[in-house]
C-alpha cells in the first residue's frame, strides 16, 4: 500500500516538477528580455531599479507592483503577462540568491 502511494506521488510529482521547471525557465527569460533592463544582473544588483534579491516585500506587494507599476519609475505589466507568468516572476525573484553584492 505504501509502495503504491509512493509510486502515485512520484508519478504526479514528475509532471509537476517539469511544469515548475518550465515556468522557472520562462520567468528567467521574461526577466532577461524585459525586467533586466532596470533590475540589473538579473535582479541580483541595484541599477536603474532596486535590487530584488533578498527583498523583504511580501509576495502580494511584488505581484501588485509588477501589475500596476509606479508612475515615472516602473511600467505596468498587468496587461502584458498572464497571471501564471506574473506569479512565476515572483517565484524567480524569491529564488535569487542574495550575496550582498
Amino acid at each position: 500500500m505504501i509502495r503504491i502511494l509512493a509510486l502515485t506521488v512520484a508519478l504526479s510529482l514528475g509532471p509537476a516538477v517539469a511544469w515548475a521547471q518550465d515556468r522557472a525557465a520562462e520567468a528567467a527569460q521574461i526577466f532577461a528580455s524585459t525586467c533586466g533592463f532596470c533590475h540589473q544582473d538579473g535582479g541580483r544588483a541595484a541599477g536603474r531599479g532596486p535590487k530584488l534579491a533578498g527583498t523583504d516585500r511580501p509576495d502580494d506587494y511584488l505581484l501588485n507592483r509588477i501589475r500596476v507599476g509606479k508612475e515615472g519609475a516602473m511600467p505596468a505589466f498587468g496587461r502584458a503577462f498572464s497571471e501564471a507568468q506574473l506569479r512565476a516572476l515572483v517565484v524567480y525573484i524569491r529564488s535569487l540568491k542574495d550575496d550582498a553584492r
Binding site: 527569460q29 524585459t34 533586466g36 544588483a45
Partner: protein, 583 residues
C-alpha cells in the same frame, strides 16, 4: 505675434535656400527681438538662428550654435536668472529643447505638455495639454518624456508617446490637426523625439531599438496633417529585407527616435536609426547565419539620407552592421560643414566613434574615437568605416564590455562653433558585465522590451567611470582642450558667438567655458541635474540663455548606484525652464 511679425515669420520659414551673405544679420544683440531686426535669418542659414532658435538642433546644420555675442567671457560674471517657468509633472525631468521665434519661447515637457511664453519675461501666452492614453503611458518604459517640438507654417508640432503628431496654432495653442501615426496600443512605443519641419512637411521618427517593431519615420503634410510617406527603418526596401534571416525583420526594432538634419542644397534629410531587436544576440560570432536576426539588419544603427518630398532612400551608411551592443545611430547631431571644398556631415555614434561623411553619398571621409574605453571593436577603419575585431557576445557571461549599454555618447547633442572651428562633445567612460540569455519576442497582447541579457554597469578596468567635455577638430578629431567630469554630463551643449560653451552638468551646475581655451568662466547652481536642452536667443534687444533642468532619464537612472549622492536622492519628477540674461 502681430500680423506683420507673422508674415515675416512665414516668409522666413519659406527660405530654404541659403540666405546670401550680404543679407545675413549682424550677430550682435542689437538687432532686437520680436521681428524688429532689419534682416532675419532662417533655420537653414549656417550661422544658426540669429535672434531665434527655430529648430531642435539650432539650425538645419545641427550646430547648436547661436551667433549672439552680447554675453562673453568678459561680462559673464553679470549673468543672472531672468525668469523661471515650472511646467509641473516633469516626470523623468525636463528633457526637451525649447524653441524661440519672434520673442516667444515654445517648449514641451513630459506628457507632451506644450507652453508658449513671452521670451523676455516668461509670462505664459498659452498652454496645451493633450489627453493621452494613460493606461498605455503606464505600461511604457521609454516614457513619458518628450524631447522637443518643431515650428513651421504658423504652427507648433509635437509628437506624443501614444503615437500621435499634433499641430497647434502658434498664436493661440489651439489644435489645427491631430494625426495618429503609430499603433502604440499594440507596439507600446510612440514618439518622444522632436519633429523636423522641412519645406511643407513635418518629419518624425518612431521609437524602436529593443522594441520589436519596424521603427517607421513619417513625412506628414504640415498644412493638413495627412501622412504623405512612411519609411520603415527595418527592411524598408526589398533588398534590405534580405539582411534579416528567418523573417526576423517582422520584429527588427530600428526606429529613428531623435530629430535629424537637413541639407537644403541637395534637398536631403539625414536621419539616424536605432539598434535592432533583440538588443543582444546569443548567436555570437555566428550572427551571419544563425540566431534571432541573422544578417546585417538594414537599416538599423545606420545614417540614412531621405528625400523629404517622398520619403525615398537616396543612400545610407550602416555605422554598425548587425549591432549587437545597443550602439545606436539614432543619437546625435548631423553637423554640416565644409572642409577643403568638400561638403561634409559629422555624426557621432553611441559606441564612442565619430563618423565623418561626404554629404553627396555618405561615403566615409574619416572615423575618429571620442572615448577612451572602447572594446566592442578593436577599431573602425577610418578610410572605409569597416569594423575591425568585433567583440560578439555568445550565450553566457562576459566581463568588461566597453562602453556600457548607456554608450560612449548619449542622445543629447554637442555643439560646433564656426568662430573657433571646434566641435564640443561629451564623452562617457564606463563599462559593464553581462550574461547573454536566449529570449523570444513578446508581441501579444502588447509588445515588450527584448533585451536578451542581464547586465550590470561597472568601472572600466584600471579606471573609474567618468565623463569629459572635449573641444576637437570635427573632421580629424584632434583635441584642443578637455575638461574632466566625475560623472558624465547628460544634457546638450551650447556654443555662442560670444566665445562661450555652456555645459549643463548632472549635479545641477550650469557651467560656461571660454570656447578657445576651455577655461571655466562662470557657473550657476540650478539645484537639480540637467538632462535636456539649452539654447540662446535675443528678445527686446537682449541676449538670453535658456536651459531645461530636471533629472531622471534612463541613462541618469544609472547614476545613483554607480556614483552615489547627489544622485541617489535627486528627484526625478521635477524640472523647469531657467532663463538667464546680463543684469
Amino acid at each position: 505675434m502681430t500680423t506683420k511679425r507673422g508674415a515675416l515669420y512665414l516668409a522666413r520659414l519659406a527660405m530654404v535656400v541659403l540666405v546670401a551673405t550680404a543679407c545675413s544679420m549682424s550677430s550682435t544683440s542689437q538687432g532686437g527681438g520680436g521681428g524688429t531686426g532689419a534682416m532675419r535669418t532662417s533655420m537653414s542659414e549656417p550661422a544658426g538662428a540669429g535672434n531665434d532658435w527655430m529648430t531642435y538642433h539650432g539650425s538645419y546644420q545641427s550646430w547648436h550654435y547661436s551667433p549672439l555675442t552680447e554675453i562673453n567671457p568678459d561680462n559673464i560674471k553679470r549673468l543672472q536668472v531672468a525668469w523661471v517657468h515650472h511646467p509641473g509633472r516633469s516626470t523623468r525631468g525636463l528633457q526637451s529643447m525649447p524653441l524661440v521665434a519672434d520673442g516667444v519661447l515654445y517648449y514641451t515637457g513630459s506628457y507632451s505638455r506644450v507652453w508658449a511664453l513671452d521670451a523676455a519675461t516668461g509670462k505664459p501666452i498659452w498652454s496645451y495639454f493633450p489627453k493621452l492614453n494613460d493606461d498605455l503611458v503606464a505600461a511604457q518604459t521609454h516614457s513619458p518624456y518628450t524631447r522637443g517640438i518643431a515650428l513651421g507654417q504658423g504652427k507648433v508640432f509635437v509628437g506624443t508617446v501614444d503615437g500621435r503628431l499634433i499641430a497647434l496654432d502658434m498664436k493661440t495653442g489651439r489644435p489645427a490637426w491631430d494625426t495618429k501615426l503609430v499603433n502604440s496600443e499594440k507596439l507600446t512605443v510612440g514618439f518622444t523625439g522632436a519633429p523636423l519641419f522641412v519645406k511643407d512637411k513635418v518629419i518624425i521618427g518612431s521609437q524602436g531599438g529593443e522594441w520589436p517593431g519596424r521603427g517607421p519615420i513619417f513625412g506628414v503634410d504640415a498644412a493638413s496633417g495627412r501622412k504623405v510617406w512612411e519609411f520603415l527603418t527595418v527592411a524598408g526596401t526589398e533588398e534590405s529585407k534580405k539582411t534579416w534571416g528567418n523573417d526576423s525583420w517582422r520584429t527588427g526594432g530600428g526606429g529613428g527616435w531623435m530629430a535629424g538634419g537637413y541639407d537644403a542644397e541637395s534637398n536631403t534629410v539625414w536621419w539616424g536609426t536605432g539598434n535592432p531587436a533583440p538588443l543582444y544576440d546569443w548567436a555570437g560570432f555566428e550572427w551571419k547565419t544563425t540566431g534571432p536576426r541573422p544578417g546585417d539588419n538594414l537599416f538599423t544603427t545606420a545614417v540614412i539620407a531621405l528625400d523629404p518630398d517622398n520619403g525615398r532612400l537616396k543612400f545610407y551608411h550602416q555605422e554598425l552592421p548587425h549591432d549587437a551592443w545597443d550602439f545606436d545611430s539614432a543619437v546625435g547631431e548631423f553637423v554640416m560643414l565644409e572642409r577643403d571644398g568638400k561638403k561634409l556631415v559629422v555624426h557621432p555614434n553611441k559606441g564612442g566613434h565619430v563618423f565623418v561623411y561626404d554629404r553627396k553619398d555618405a561615403s566615409i571621409v574619416n572615423v575618429w574615437q571620442l572615448t577612451k574605453h572602447i572594446n566592442f571593436v578593436k577599431s573602425i577603419d577610418p578610410k572605409t568605416g569597416a569594423l575591425i575585431g568585433r567583440r560578439d557576445l555568445p550565450l553566457g557571461k562576459h566581463t568588461n564590455l566597453c562602453p556600457a549599454i548607456a554608450g560612449g555618447m548619449s542622445w543629447n547633442s554637442g555643439a560646433y562653433s564656426p568662430k573657433t572651428g571646434l566641435y564640443y562633445k561629451i564623452g562617457q567612460e564606463w563599462c559593464m558585465d553581462l550574461e547573454v540569455i536566449k529570449t523570444t519576442p513578446v508581441l501579444e497582447p502588447q509588445a515588450q522590451l527584448d533585451i536578451g541579457a542581464n547586465f550590470k554597469l561597472r568601472n572600466p578596468e584600471g579606471d573609474k567611470a567618468h565623463g569629459h567635455l572635449s573641444a576637437r577638430d570635427p573632421v580629424t578629431g584632434a583635441k584642443k582642450w578637455e575638461v574632466m567630469f566625475p560623472e558624465p554630463p547628460l544634457a546638450s551643449l551650447l556654443a555662442t558667438g560670444g566665445n562661450l560653451v555652456f555645459v549643463p552638468d548632472p549635479r545641477g551646475m550650469l557651467r560656461a567655458y571660454d570656447a578657445q581655451s576651455g577655461k571655466e568662466v562662470w557657473s550657476h547652481n540650478n539645484g537639480i541635474g540637467h538632462n535636456g536642452g539649452i539654447i540662446s536667443f535675443a528678445a527686446k534687444g537682449k541676449q538670453y540663455i535658456a536651459v531645461a533642468t530636471g533629472w531622471g532619464s534612463l541613462v541618469g537612472d544609472e547614476f545613483g548606484e554607480l556614483f552615489g549622492e547627489p544622485y541617489k536622492s535627486m528627484p526625478k519628477d521635477a524640472g523647469a525652464i531657467v532663463v538667464f540674461t546680463l543684469e
